[in-house]
Point group: C2
Chain length 190, copies 2
């Protein structure tokens, strides 16, 4: 049951059989089809989401009415609008399935409860938040110091399988390219 | 001794007198003068830094040779290059004092040790990382959907005292403005 989720936890913390059972009783598996939404802008982000199988993206609509992708989440990644989740205020983002996906949802109040009951989970989520924040710090620099073509080349070299899984227009949005420019880059020899 | 640090901790977790003593014996107060560095690009970020008193900034040098400010840290904020800190690899950033500052440094290996000895610290740092990551998610949207002038107006309305404390060219860099454009905006009636 949810092998990715359980294995991922066990990479970072040790849980007793009772704790594992308690945790699994507190999560909610969610199957969503490609293009379905976990949250939309204006809704409260009610849960923290782990990708057991599949692929999600987070985006917002910019002031020209165009979707701007800020993040993807593959297997073993957590995703949420953490401002909305923490304060239970309205979200500024959309989280949508890019493929048919199996998601583990931990609702906000349930996560708070589980953190009290299983203190090692604090360590697990501290490590997850630190990893996400470290990546966010790097991303800011990365997008500033390289040209758009360099960003594209770097990205496809680092994540070749991932690039196969996402539609080109989403990759273009994430990298800040027009779809036309991305198409030109793809035609050139790397 | 370090009232901001101790009060900040107590807002989030309860420590026994022994735990507080253990924690305080593991930290290192650092006094740095304005313009001194905690880390420079290429050095390993050896510690997690809390601003007890003063103001720090994080920046990198972009491909035009210009400083790009990505973050400020006032009293009660933590700052580090978390990729460098976590993996003890070379940093991609500079962290420099904007004012004479008193900093609490927790060295990486010491923080790992303290987290083992005082498990509640996992909760404290989980909350700190989650807050920082939530702010980073919002920042990406914020800088995309508003004009530079809107960003400036919003920033000075939200953080009026802070804006008084930083040199204008640093604020311009953080907001992605030229110093000349910032100067024009300041002359206009808000």
């Amino acid at each position: 049951m949810y092998p990715n989720f359980v294995n991922h936890l066990k990479k970072y913390i040790s849980l007793s059989a009772e704790e594992e059972e308690l945790l699994l009783s507190g999560i909610k598996p969610v199957s969503i089809y490609k293009k379905e939404f976990l949250i939309k802008e204006g809704q409260v982000c009610k849960a923290n989401y782990f990708v057991e199988q599949g692929l999600l993206r987070m985006y917002f609509i910019n002031n020209k009415g165009i979707e701007q992708v800020t993040q993807f989440a593959l297997e073993n990644w957590w995703i949420a609008d953490y401002m909305s989740l923490t304060s239970q205020s309205n979200s500024h983002f959309y989280i949508q399935a890019v493929e048919n996906s199996t998601i583990i949802a931990i609702e906000h109040h349930k996560q708070e409860k589980l953190l009290e009951q299983i203190p090692q989970l604090e360590r697990y989520f501290r490590l997850m938040m630190q990893r996400a924040y470290a990546a966010a710090q790097m991303r800011v620099k990365f997008f500033h110091v390289h040209t758009k073509e360099e960003n594209y080349r770097y990205f496809i070299r680092l994540f070749p399988e991932f690039v196969q899984r996402i539609p080109q227009y989403m990759l273009a949005s994430y990298l800040g390219l027009t779809p036309e420019y991305l198409s030109e880059l793809r035609k050139k020899q790397p």
